[in-house]
């Protein structure tokens, strides 16, 4: 990861495992308030967010500070991007300030990959368009492993707007690498058949009940109105056919966990009773976000050589 972290697709299992293991070490640190390490003392990371995001940006900021790094956050609205500066110029300017890593969120798929070709600075992808969101998949895996012994052989249902979801793509790659079975579910126009060919062990269904049956993990995706370029489905009946409600949980394994990358839309893709139920691990995901991002920052900024 010395060159940064652009996506899960290119990572091997050992590297993912190392991050997940290291994140477990950081969970304790993360729970103790005000604890701060100095692993990354003297390092500077820039959080560059071209797209609104409170939780991911904050999570990276906290992770960096917990490790003793200086973290600067720049949002597109506050930067010269608004004045028409090109992406290349913005990044060149930032690179000239010599940060040790750039954490980047952008609405265009491949924007971090494009920059990684021209900048020597390691880039950590904090979500690019409808492509990947690698730290989300890592924190999701960490969360699953906190509740279940192994990823292998699990049945994971991912439900919602699959076509436009970077969370779905990154999770699909990660879970597949560890031998989980993945069921993708959503309205057909949001469920491209090609998704089933991206990795081994992926199946598709338009039936919510079928997706949930015997599931160990249910991952709900946010209905991303901002990413819809057209009306691909009748929004009025989305919850009726694809909203997760309490009665659905009976179809799953008894110890099923319900996940959501947030922010949740109560009553749109998930019923309040489910979001607040004992089966929901949504807040664990948020917590693990910091631990996992600490592990990623440490690996990227210390060449993976962890003391």
């Amino acid at each position: 990861m010395t060159g940064g972290l652009l996506g899960i697709e290119d990572l091997d299992r050992a590297e993912i495992q190392a991050v997940l293991d290291r994140a477990r070490d950081f969970q304790a640190v993360q729970r103790a308030s005000f604890s701060r390490l100095d692993v990354l003392k003297g390092k500077m990371v820039v959080n560059l967010f071209f797209e609104a995001s409170t939780r991911t940006r904050t999570s990276f900021e906290i992770a960096a500070r917990r490790l003793g790094a200086d973290a600067i956050s720049i949002t597109a609205q506050a930067s010269s991007v608004e004045k028409g500066e090109s992406l290349v110029d913005t990044l060149n300017t930032l690179a000239a300030m010599h940060p040790h890593a750039i954490i980047m969120r952008h609405s265009a798929s491949g924007a971090p990959h494009f920059l990684a070709r021209y900048l020597p600075t390691p880039i950590i992808n904090a979500g690019d368009g409808t492509h990947e969101h690698p730290t989300q998949a890592l924190l999701d895996a960490r969360t699953i492993l906190d509740h279940l012994p192994s990823l292998e052989g699990l049945r994971v249902a991912i439900i919602g707007d699959i076509a436009h979801s970077r969370v779905a793509r990154s999770n699909l790659y990660l879970l597949s690498k560890f031998g989980a079975g993945i069921v993708l579910c959503g309205p057909a126009p949001l469920l491209p058949q090609e998704m089933g060919r991206l990795a081994p062990g992926v199946t598709l269904t338009t039936q919510l009940a079928e997706a949930i049956r015997d599931a160990d993990v249910i991952m709900m995706l946010r209905v991303q109105l901002e990413r819809m370029h057209e009306a691909a489905y009748p929004g009025s009946e989305y919850f009726k056919f694809y909203g997760l409600r309490l009665e659905h949980l009976k179809l799953a394994k008894p110890n099923v966990i319900v996940m959501h990358p947030g922010p949740i839309n109560r009553g749109r893709e998930i019923a309040s009773e489910v979001a607040d139920s004992q089966r929901s691990v949504i807040l664990n995901q948020v917590e693990n976000g910091i631990a996992v991002r600490m592990a990623v920052l440490e690996r990227v900024l210390t060449n993976g050589a962890v003391a």
């Binding site: 290349v88 798929s109 990959h113 076509a163 970077r166 793509r169 090609e194 057209e230």
Partner: protein
């Protein structure tokens, strides 16, 4: 009297059904004679032994960006790139600024070309005013000023009724109608071919159906109107099949294909590299195969480059923001040899047709032959010379090519326009 003799080459002139070693003599810019051991007295002699000597190549689909976008290309620079690619005639599309939708702009292009271009330039005029797809442009006046076809290239004519009227009107002036076939509602802001690669990269897809539905519509309109209709840069296998079907039924419809659509498919694109971004997009390998098959069986009548220069600043952006289009003039022959001739899909003679009599016939240009009295436009090329494309040495003002660094076997050696060498290695 200026006299040039191209000596001892393998002369291929499809129109004269000639394929054999001979000399080609040109006098005062016209073909004077083709035969063995021609008189070389006082002539400039070019030894073409081991080379192919063909009628000058015609590229019926280029973008010269002038007027309006001279930072990307000019008539002069584009013509130089054409010459270096073995082309002696090029047809610039009308999507300049202002759009070539009236005789004034056409005359401007013709006049600039006559002074600055080292190859022949035959402009294509717009179908509709501003290429907005609504009101017909001054088609007849543009014809008088020198256009050889009409097209709103870059944009499809979305309104079927406007297309029908354009076909009817153009037929009255003997002009073919060229359409950029893309249903914009189906392509819906897509950036690349819709398929497994677009799904993996999270890029919005342009389905093959966006081309197919418009080709189908236009073929029906061509039948309704009797117009000469031509599909620009055909890329999808069903579209090729539909044109084949229409031609079998005797309709006067034709199509062209670009080298990149038979040379590359979507899996070969470098992720998020805008040098692979064009319209129509690089499609599935089965589509590239269908295009090559169409070229071999005569369904596709011409190879055209869709040479589309864009300056680096425009191509150095987020993939979704980058404009569509790549350079094509200098690599077309090399790619056609690599993907069509060397694998034995077509003969060298057929390749020459696709670059000469094919486009000349579609546009009714009095070119594409070495018959006595024809314009002295000659392309001399090699079947085996090894070379590597260096886009940084391109004559184009732009650098957007996915073939930079690509090794070629065979390519242009010299280009002659009106009896004068305009380029040679």
């Amino acid at each position: 009297m200026s006299r040039v003799v191209i000596a001892n080459g393998r002369v291929i002139d499809p129109l004269s059904k000639l394929d054999g070693v001979a000399d080609v003599a040109m006098v005062d810019g016209r073909i004077a004679q083709v035969g063995r051991d021609l008189d070389r007295t006082g002539a400039e002699v070019f030894d073409a032994a081991g080379l192919i000597v063909a009628p000058g190549f015609i590229d019926m689909h280029v973008h010269l960006r002038e007027p309006g976008f001279e930072h990307a290309e000019t008539i002069e620079s584009g013509a130089r790139a054409a010459a270096a690619g073995g082309f002696t005639s090029i047809c610039p599309m009308p999507n300049t600024s202002p759009v070539n939708d009236n005789a004034t702009v056409t005359s401007y292009i013709v006049e600039r070309a006559s002074r600055l271009a080292c190859v022949n330039v035959f402009p294509i005029g717009a179908i509709t005013k501003g290429s907005l797809g609504e009101e017909l442009a001054a088609i007849g006046s543009m014809k008088q000023a020198g256009i050889v076809a009409i097209s709103d290239d870059g944009k499809p004519v979305m309104n079927a009724r406007v297309m029908r009227r354009a076909m009817e009107y153009a037929a009255g002036f003997g002009l073919p109608v060229i359409n950029h076939c893309e249903d914009l509602h189906l392509s819906a802001g897509g950036d690349m071919h819709e398929g497994q690669v677009s799904t993996r990269l999270g890029l919005r897809g342009i389905p093959s159906a966006s081309e197919d539905v418009m080709v189908a519509r236009d073929l029906l309109l061509a039948e309704l109107t009797g117009a000469r209709y031509h599909v620009a840069h055909i890329s999808a296998r069903h579209s090729v099949a539909m044109v084949r079907f229409a031609r079998h039924r005797g309709l006067p419809v034709t199509c062209e294909a670009t080298p990149h659509h038979f040379a590359l498919h979507d899996c070969e694109m470098k992720p998020y590299d805008s040098n692979y971004k064009m319209k129509p997009p690089l499609r599935h390998s089965s589509d590239a195969e269908a295009v090559a098959q169409g070229l071999a069986d005569g369904t596709v009548g011409a190879i055209a480059t869709d040479h589309a220069p864009h300056p680096g600043s425009e191509k150095m952006q987020e993939f979704e923001k980058c404009p569509f289009g790549i350079l094509g003039l200098e690599t077309a022959l090399g790619l056609a040899l690599e993907h069509l001739v060397h694998p034995g899909r077509i003969t060298v003679g057929k390749l020459v047709e696709l670059f000469t009599t094919g486009p000349a016939g579609i546009l009714s240009l009095n070119r594409g032959t070495l018959a006595e009295g024809a314009p002295g436009d000659v392309t001399i090329f090699s079947l085996d010379r090894e070379w590597t494309y260096d886009v940084n040495k391109s004559f184009s003002k732009s650098r957007n090519s996915p073939f930079h660094g690509h090794p070629f076997r065979g390519g242009p050696v010299a280009t002659i326009v009106k009896g004068e060498f305009v380029w040679r290695i």
